[in-house]
Amino acid sequence: MARFLGALFGGLGQGSAYALIALGFVVIYRSTKVVSFAQPSLMVAGATAVSYLAAGGDALLPFWVAVPVAMLLTGLLAAGVERVALRPMVGKPVFTVAIITIGVDIVLRVIVNRLIGVNIRAVGDPWGLSVVTVGGIPLQVRFLAMMAALTLVIAALGAFFRYARVGLAMRATAHDQEVALAQGISVGSVFALSWAIAGALAALAGMFVGTSSGIDQNTWIIALKALPAIVIGGLDSIGGAVVGGLVVGLVEALVATYQPAWLGENFALVSPYVLLLLVLLVRPYGLFGTREVERV
């Protein structure tokens, strides 16, 4: 039982980090209808920024300041990428734009890898592998932090999209760009802001991915876990991204804990994609993808 609960908890924790990345994909997709494959590089860029700012003996900033600063910097970087590489492509087929994001990802990764170097870099998190024991079950503090961060982000994003003038403008742009323009919404700014938000979320996720294990040149691969998450949840659904991320984390943790020997050692790594396949067979638009509201 303790083993099961442990897997459940670890899965939800790791899933929270996946959900944060997935949220970035969804925010960009909703405004621009483009799946941005630049998220992995932004995630690592954010983690690297935290590492440079907060890790080591001569840390520039305390960890709690470094994280928001890194989120801000990554957000600015993402908005800059949007402005330079993607804005000129507005109106072009989304496939073309998606391919450009792959190119952006490669370029950014090369630069960031250079900054990471060949060794594993710590991100300077205060949790490490420390554990609190609740009701006899050991819970890793970093997973608690991930869940707390995800909860905060969901609440903040929810309020932003529902109540903020700019948040509402972003949703309007997602639904109908011409209508948004006709109301005086600058669609270009909305695109840039979506990228900035996605970049900031990726940075936060990257920091969590780097906790305890640190980051290296292959850390970006973890961001790809967000792809089954968003497809399972539905590309345009904030709630779907969260559920998708958590489900991916859970499935991975449970498979890792209970996989029978004949499946092989690392089947957990493949399991999210198997789940993805199953979900797509039943619900091609994901669990929470939109079916449009229409008067009959």
């Binding site: 109106g91 003038r165 509402l168 403008a169 949703r171 309007a172 639904h175 109908d176 760009q177 011409e178 209508v179 948004a180 323009l181 006709a182 109301q183 005086g184 919404i185 600058s186 939109t290 449009e292 509201v293 229409e294 008067r295």
Partner: protein, 283 residues
């Protein structure tokens, strides 16, 4: 500019901001889509502040294109102003983007209502207030709810489930949230029952009486000319007629081609050909 003064103001009403040359003017405008399709071929038109001006024409005449050119929405459709100019109070605006033009106080209500179906009524209205930064949202909501009481009753409802007439009111209310000086209405009566067309017509008059100038594009010429002071007839990208509404309503050609009245006894094929000859209005 041919002298066409004096302009008929719609139904008068207080003019909140009239000063100087308060007019939205289009002169000799040429618009091309996709670099090759010439849609407007030298259109000139004037919308003096405080008036209701009707723009009539068949499908494909270029009415919507003209509205898009004014409100800066040509980009979305790969269109471009290649000649001529659009001025607001003497300042050129045809090179500005849509958000800038909205901030200058020109708002277009797109054809087919285009409410944000998954938003609530109130959220739709708040989107309309985007350009009204620094104004009190509550006041704007109250003003719009006073004009369209049905929206107040439905404010928490999902916009996609409103009836066609309610959606048209929502689209108009949304545009009015930023209190524009000029309202460009594209076929507000489209697909509405006659009773609702009456209601929309009365609302346009009410909006105008509150000081908003209206450029009304309509296929329903009877309705449009009934409330407009001045009317333009657009045909294949050119203004072919331009008169006070009363004169247009009395014009034999307009009565035949746009109002479906008159023309007794002309039923044969030969007469139809005769129409075509006669239809070169100004030649």
């Amino acid at each position: 500019m041919t002298g066409r003064f004096p302009y008929h103001a719609g139904r008068g009403g207080p003019r909140r901001r009239s000063q100087g040359v308060a007019v939205l003017a289009v002169s000799n405008l040429e618009v091309v889509y996709d670099d090759v399709i010439l849609v407007l071929r030298g259109v000139s038109l004037q919308v003096p502040q405080g008036s209701i001006v009707a723009l009539l024409g068949a499908n494909g005449a270029g009415k919507t294109t003209l509205l898009r050119a004014i409100s800066g929405l040509l980009d979305v459709h790969e269109g471009e102003v290649t000649k001529g100019r659009i001025t607001l109070d003497g300042e050129e605006i045809h090179h500005l983007d849509a958000p800038r033009i909205v901030r200058l106080g020109i708002k277009q209500v797109l054809e087919g209502r285009r409410v944000l179906a998954e938003f609530t009524v109130e959220e739709n209205l708040r989107v309309g207030a985007h350009a009204a930064r620094g104004r009190a949202l509550g006041d704007d909501l109250d003003r719009v709810f006073t004009l369209f009481p049905v929206l107040r009753d439905r404010r928490r409802r999902t916009a996609g489930y409103l009836s066609g007439g309610e959606q048209q009111m929502l689209a108009m209310g949304r545009a009015l949230m930023s209190d524009p000086r000029y309202l460009l209405l594209d076929e507000p009566s489209l697909g509405l029952a006659p009773l609702l067309v009456q209601q929309i017509r009365d609302l346009i008059v009410a909006i105008n009486e509150q000081g908003t100038t209206v450029l009304l594009v309509e296929q329903n010429a009877t309705m449009a000319l009934g409330i407009a002071g001045h009317g333009y007839v657009l045909e294949t990208g050119k203004v072919v007629m331009d008169k006070p509404s009363a004169d247009l309503l009395a014009d034999d050609d307009v009565r035949e081609f746009y109002l479906g009245l008159g023309g007794d006894g002309r039923r044969s094929f030969r007469d139809v050909k005769h129409y075509k000859r006669r239809k070169r209005w100004l030649s």
